[in-house]
Structure formats: C-alpha cells, structure tokens
C-alpha cells in the first residue's frame, strides 16, 4: 500500500501564522527595545488568541486535522505542520494563559521612568513571546526533529525567566533546570536519530505507518520518553521543578507551571498514541502511570510540609503532573468508551490545571507582594485584606482537588470512571487519595487565611484591582470548564482517526 503524501488542507496556513507571529514579535521586541517590547506583546495578544480560536474552529468544522506542508516539500523530504483537536485545544489554553499573564505582568515588568530600557522588562516580554512561539511550535510540529528545535526554543525561553531577579538561589535553580532540560533533549534527539536510522523519516504520520515492534523502536521510544520525562518533571525527575517554579517571579511561575511542563507531556502523548500506538504495551503504560501515582502521593505529601506558599504551589504541580500520566494505561488499547473518556479526562486535566495553577501562582504572587513574604504561618487573616485573590486561590484549589463543578472534577471523574470500567481499580484509589491529600494541603493555606487574624498586624501593601481581576478570571475559567456539556470536549478527539484510532 503506498504511503499517503501529505497535502495542505484549507486553512493550513493558519498554522504558519501561529508559529510566525510570536517569533517575529520576539524579534521586533528585541529590535525596538525599551517600552516597545511590552507594547508588541500587548498588540499581539488578541492576534494570537484569535488565531488559536480560528484554528480550533477549523479543526472542529472539518472534523479533521489541519495540515500545512511547509515550502510545498512533502515529508519525508520536507516538514509538515499538523494541528489536530489536541493541538487546537492546547493552543487555546496557551493563548488564554499567556494573555492573562501578559495583563498580570504589566505592573511588575514596566520599564522605570527615566530609563530608555531596563533589563528585566525587556527580557521578560521578549521571552514571553518566545515561549508562546515555542509552545505553538511544539503543538503543531509533525516532525520529530522540528519538535526538537521547538523544545529547545521552549527551554531557552523558560530558563532565564526563572532567575530574572538575579538571586543566587534562583540562579542555581535555573542552572539545575537547564541541565535537566539539556540532558532531556540529548536523550530525545538520540531516540529520534535511531528512528530515522530504522525508518528513514522523522514525520509522525509516516512513522506511525512504518514503526514495527522491534529493538530499534523500543530503544528509541524509551530514550525519547525518558528525555521528555525529565522535561515534564515526572517523579523521580522532578527535582529541578519546585525551586525553579517557586523562585521565579509570579507571572513567570504561572506560565512555567501551567504551560511549559505540559509541552513535554503532549509530546509523550504524541509519541505513544501517534508515533507508535502499537507499541504501547500494558506494561509500559503501567510503568508510566505508576510513576504518575508516585508523583501524586510524593508531591502532595511534600506540599503538605512546605513552609512557603509558592513552594507549596510548586510541589502541587509535581503532584498534578502525575495525574496526566494516569491516562496512559486507561486510554491505551482498544478504542472503547473508556479509552475515549480517559483521553478526554487526561487532556482536560492538562487544560484545567493550566488555568487553575496559573491563577494560584499569580494569587500567591499577589499575597507575597501584599505581605512582603509568603510564609504560610504568617498568612492569618489575609482573606480580609485580599478577598478576591484568596477566593481565586481557593477556586483554583477546588479544581486541583477535583471537587464539582470544576474542570478538574470532570477530568478526574472521567479518569476515575475509565479506571473502574477497565478494571484497573488501583488507579481509582490513587485518584481518590490524591484528591484527599490535595484538600489537606489547600486547607493548610485556606484555614489560616480565612479565619486567623491575630498575626495580621502591619497593613498590607496595596494590590491593583485589575491584577486581582485577571487572577479571578483564570480561576473562573478553570471552574467553568466543568460546567460545559461533555460533548463540547469532542474537539480533543478530532484527528485521532488519521492515526488508526476510530473515535
């Protein structure tokens, strides 16, 4: 049977624009410099959001993936871009979180009066655009090497954000993050090289047709997975994450925790469900999920023991990443309703966690700004001073716990029922236990915040209402995701048919 030759679909050019507007924007921001960097980002925010929505609408209407063949050179010689429902949904999430971050960060990264240009603002705004372009490139990439370049772009945009304040501890955190990420990409590239050697292409669609269960595919799959696990900070490769995410400035923490780790996760999903669906044996899927379960328990317990709010939120990310990996054994295998549910649940977890965690990191940033510290012991009565912020933090927390009607609830409920339907009750136990532990560490924060008041002596520094509004909006989105009818998540299933899975 001859292999299908990729052809551009109508609307495929949108994918090129989704890649090029942030890349060109980052170049403009650097060339113009000074206050213009921020203006470039603000001007491009509606463009990016509009493009993401347009791509999703096209994907949904066509009920098929958008494809663009770059330069007219079809794979395997050239590179194609491809956006299925998963890409489109994550692109909208990315756009929403980055726009919110941009609005939130304006107060923090303003060029001071009297200076033509300042270090941190220029770097932040240019890197934010770079991050956006990198995430879009990761989401629409259809070629393993092109994805490698996209991953590196993501790393180099993310790492400097960690240490914008220039303190020794954040520098160390950034360096550790970079070393993990570099090792991860080296292993990823090694796997890609082996796949090319064995099958003569790096295109995901072509590979899905050519990959056989043989040593080359096994070695390559293992290397790529381990490399990406280091980047997505799955237990036990999570060591770099808490200091990096907790030490970064609040807007940077928000995008790092909400989006950057998800980029590597999405590629693991692509690898096992798109590139080599036949090779995702039960044993491999169980190992991934076991690591995820360990991450849930370990991350939650460590979150319980943190003294600082931002460290707690960061360890909570370690735990919530674990949930994502539960989807592998539940969505693998036959395309039954359980598999569909697990797939939707896993991706909904990624999306709702992105919104909720971005809101929580921003809320933690506002609290730290108001109090001058973020020690949990000293949070007494903060809810009276910052009611909106604490409310938003709580809403985000509900989504992480999986309480109705949040998006996190629907995600965890879908995973839970898939676990029960497929007879893998042990994962159901993990999900329930994780929810309880999450509740425990959140109440450690919320109880003193809502009730205490005795330790709350100095008047807090004022916090801009508009920034609180941004945080609240993100938290509400993570909540409202749970109120949408389940059918509206059909988007994330679109395009899986090309890969031999019938929805």
């Amino acid at each position: 049977m001859p292999e299908p030759v990729a052809v551009s679909t109508p609307g495929g050019a949108l994918l090129v624009w989704a890649l090029m507007f942030p890349a060109a924007g980052a170049l403009f921001a650097l060339a113009l410099g000074g206050r213009h960097a921020e203006r470039v980002v603000l001007a491009l925010m509606p463009v990016g959001l509009g493009l993401a929505v347009a791509i999703a609408a096209r994907v949904l209407r066509a009920d098929a993936a958008l494809v663009y063949v770059v330069g007219g050179w079809a794979p395997p010689l050239g590179i194609a871009l491809r956006a299925d429902g998963l890409s489109a949904a994550m692109m909208i999430t990315t756009a929403v979180v980055i726009c919110a971050t941009g609005l939130f960060a304006r107060a923090e990264f303003q060029t001071p009066q009297g200076l033509p240009e300042a270090r941190a603002p220029l770097a932040f705004w240019a890197l934010l655009l770079g991050l956006w372009g990198a995430l879009n490139a990761v989401l629409v990439g259809d070629d393993l090497f092109n994805l490698f370049v996209a991953l590196e772009l993501l790393t180099f945009a993310a790492v400097p954000l960690v240490c914008l304040d220039g303190r020794a501890d954040t520098l160390a955190a950034a360096l550790r993050y970079l070393l993990f990420a570099l090792l991860g990409s080296a292993l990823y590239l090694l796997g890609a090289a082996l796949l090319f050697g064995a099958y003569g292409t790096l295109d995901i669609v072509l590979l899905s047709d050519r990959v056989r269960a043989e040593p080359a595919a096994w070695t390559a799959g293992t290397l790529i997975t381990v490399g990406l696990l280091a980047k997505s900070a799955l237990f036990p490769l999570h060591l770099w994450l808490p200091p990096a995410h907790a030490g970064a400035p609040a807007p940077a923490s928000a995008v790092l925790s909400a989006l950057v780790v998800k980029g590597a996760f999405i590629l693991i999903v692509r690898l096992w469900f798109d590139v080599m669906p036949g090779l995702l044996t039960n044993a491999a899927a169980q190992v991934l999920a076991a690591l995820g379960a360990a991450a849930i328990v370990f991350g939650s317990v460590l979150a319980l023991r943190q003294a600082r709010l931002k460290m707690l939120v960061a360890y909570s990310t370690v735990a919530q990443i674990g949930y994502l990996f539960l989807m592998f054994p539940l969505a693998a295998g036959s395309a039954g309703p359980a598999s569909l549910g697990a797939w939707t649940g896993g991706l909904l977890q990624a999306i709702s966690h992105a919104c909720a965690k971005a809101a929580m990191f921003m809320a933690a940033g506002l609290i730290a700004q108001a109090l001058g510290h973020d020690r949990i012991a000293g949070l007494g009565g903060i809810a009276r001073a910052l009611p909106v912020t604490v409310f938003a933090f709580g809403l985000g927390g509900l989504s992480l716990m999986g309480l109705p009607p949040s998006g996190g609830f629907v995600a965890k409920w879908l995973l839970l029922s898939a676990a029960i339907d497929t007879g893998q009750w042990w994962w159901a136990l993990v999900i329930v236990a994780g929810g309880l532990l999450t509740g425990a560490y959140l109440f450690r924060v919320l109880t003193p915040a809502l009730t205490g008041g005795e330790a709350f002596l100095p008047p807090p520094a004022p916090v801009a209402r508009s920034r609180e509004a941004v945080v609240l909006a993100l938290a509400l989105i993570s909540m409202l995701l749970g109120l949408l009818p389940l059918a509206s998540f059909g988007l994330v299933q679109v395009g899986r048919a090309d890969m031999g899975v019938t929805p």
């Binding site: 890349a23 170049l27 650097l30 060339a31 240009e117 490139a137 945009a157 400097p160 050697g197």
Partner: protein, 319 residues
C-alpha cells in the same frame, strides 16, 4: 586496492580509539582547565571523524562551533572559575554510586550499539529524493538545499533559538550594567603577539568567511561555517583589545542580530504570494533568494555567536 582499504580501516580504528581516549580523559581528569583543553582537542578529532563519514559540511561546523567557539566559551569559563573550583573537589559521589552509574551508562551504550548493529540493511535514505528535488532549489550543495529549502523551517526556528539564548544570557546582567558592554574588563595591556595575530588574521578570515558562504551554494560551506569564522575573527579582535564589544543597548547591534531571521521570515512569508507556500521560492529566483537570506543569516550568526561567548554586559561604556 585492498592495501588502501586496510590502511583506511586502520586509520579509522586509530581515530576512533583516540577520540574515545581523549573523551575518557576529559571525563576523568581532576583539573577542570585541563579537561576543557582536552575537549578542544576532542572537537578537532571529531571533525576528522566527520570527514571520514563523508560529511565535510558537518566537519567544518564541528571544527568551528563544536570545537572552536564552544572551546573558547568553556576555556573562558574555566579560567574565570579557577578561584572557586578548589572548594568543590570533595563533593564527588561515593564509589558505590559511581559503580552503579557506570553500569547503567554502559548498559545504555550497549543497547545503542546493539540497535546500531541491527539497523536495516540496505539503510533507508532520502538522498535520491534530495537529489531529484535539488535542481528546483537552484543550489548545488544538497546540505544547503536541505537547510534553506526542504527543511528551512528548522533553520528558521534555530535562528530564533540563538536570539532567545542571547536574550537569556544578557538577562543575567546586573540591573546597573544594562546597556553596558558584554564581558569582563580586559587586561589593560594585551599581549603583543596576540595583538599582532588579531591584526593579521581578521582580513584573511573575513575573506575566507565570505568565500565559504559564496561557495556553500554549490560546494561544502555555507552561512553557518562562514558566520562562525566571522565570529571567531571578531572575538579575536575583542580579546586583543582592538575592537570594543558594542553596548547591548545599541540599536544598530539589535538590527544586525535580528536581520538574519527577519529576512528569512519575510522571504518565507512572501512565498505565500510568490510561490504558493510559506518558505517556498519561485523557481526562477530560488538561488538568488537563498543567497540573500544566507548573507543576512551569516551576519546575524556571526554577531550572535560572538556575543554569546562574550557574555552578559558587565561594564559601562567609557565616557
């Protein structure tokens, strides 16, 4: 004939053994500075391996960037860290951990070796497809065809990677030094023989760099190799104190840095109108367009590489 084959094989075996020996020495030697010197030698030897693998383009990039510019970067770092490295000597992991790690790494290497031996024969290759389509790009060097046409998107994104990495390096500056000159204060009186070299070499190097770009369309060479050479010449002049690095706030510098990727993006987008696809070239103008992009890229690459080595701004321009 068989004698020639045997000699070639013996040479390859010797080369492989030497590369591995130097690599091993780089890992196990105690002194960091010596290890970096070993790494530079390693880079040059690896460039030879690339020649033996019939990849002269890669050999040039490896020698210029992999060994050369990376070597300068790491040597500079090792020299500046000499004072602080003594405090860390005692922190090596214990013997058991070293043995376990060694066993694991040996297992990885063995798995890789086995996979390499089991790769299909005849090997899958895209060379025929590349050859068949090369004519429509107008260039004669297949590597240039891949980098600028077939997989132009990779090259474009990689240029953005370089720019972002430079922003990242610059972001490590102190706030008070922003807008200043990259790199530490050079010693007041640079060595006279270095100054001599820095006067003699750059004119030759610039000519060779431009030649590499020009010849790269049809023979080994191209924007990367030429750009790396120009970067090396600029670094040499900076080290000898003949050229001050530009302040990071300079508008002209910023334009040079983004020129390459910006021209690439612009011509790529123009492809929508002129050739029906992003990053497609109208066939009649393919070669001139590629050359225009490569010239802009070479300048940006040269500036970016040199400034990545120079580091974040650390001193204000003299008034």
């Amino acid at each position: 004939m068989t004698i020639a084959v045997t000699i070639a094989w013996a040479f390859d075996a010797l080369l492989a053994a030497t590369v591995l020996a130097v690599a091993l020495w780089t890992i196990v030697t105690r002194e960091t500075f010596a290890a970096v010197v070993g790494f530079v030698a390693f880079g040059l030897l690896v460039a030879l391996v690339w020649v033996r693998l019939a990849a002269p383009d890669v050999a040039m990039v490896e020698a210029a960037i992999g060994g050369g510019v990376t070597g300068v970067l790491l040597l500079g770092a090792a020299a500046r860290l000499r004072g602080v490295e003594a405090a860390t000597a005692a922190e090596w992991p214990g013997k058991t951990l070293r043995l376990v790690t060694g066993a694991l790494c040996a297992a990885v290497a063995a798995a890789l070796a086995a996979t390499m031996l089991l790769l299909p024969d005849p090997a899958p290759t895209l060379a025929p497809e590349a050859a068949a389509n090369l004519a429509s790009t107008g260039v004669g060097n297949p590597i240039t065809g891949v980098l600028m046409a077939f997989r132009g998107l990779d090259t474009l994104l990689e240029k953005v990677v370089l720019v972002l990495a430079l922003i990242g390096v610059w972001s490590l500056a102190q706030d008070s030094q922003w807008g200043g000159l990259p790199g530490p204060q050079r010693q007041a009186q640079p060595d006279q023989s270095l100054v001599f070299l820095a006067r003699l070499l750059p004119p030759v190097g610039i000519v060779i760099g431009v030649y590499l770009l020009w010849t790269g369309a049809d023979e080994p060479g191209g924007a990367f190799q030429g750009g790396a050479l120009l970067a090396a010449m600029w670094l040499l002049a900076m080290m000898a104190g003949l050229a001050a690095p530009p302040p990071v706030g300079s508008r002209r510098l910023r334009l040079v840095l983004v020129a390459g990727p910006a021209v690439f993006v612009a011509i790529g987008l123009a492809g929508f109108a002129l050739a029906d696809a992003f990053l497609a070239y109208p066939q009649a103008y393919a070669k001139p367009l590629i050359i225009v992009i490569e010239i802009a890229l070479m300048l940006s690459i040269a500036a970016t590489l040199a400034l990545l080595v120079a580091g974040p701004p650390e001193r204000m321009p003299p008034r």
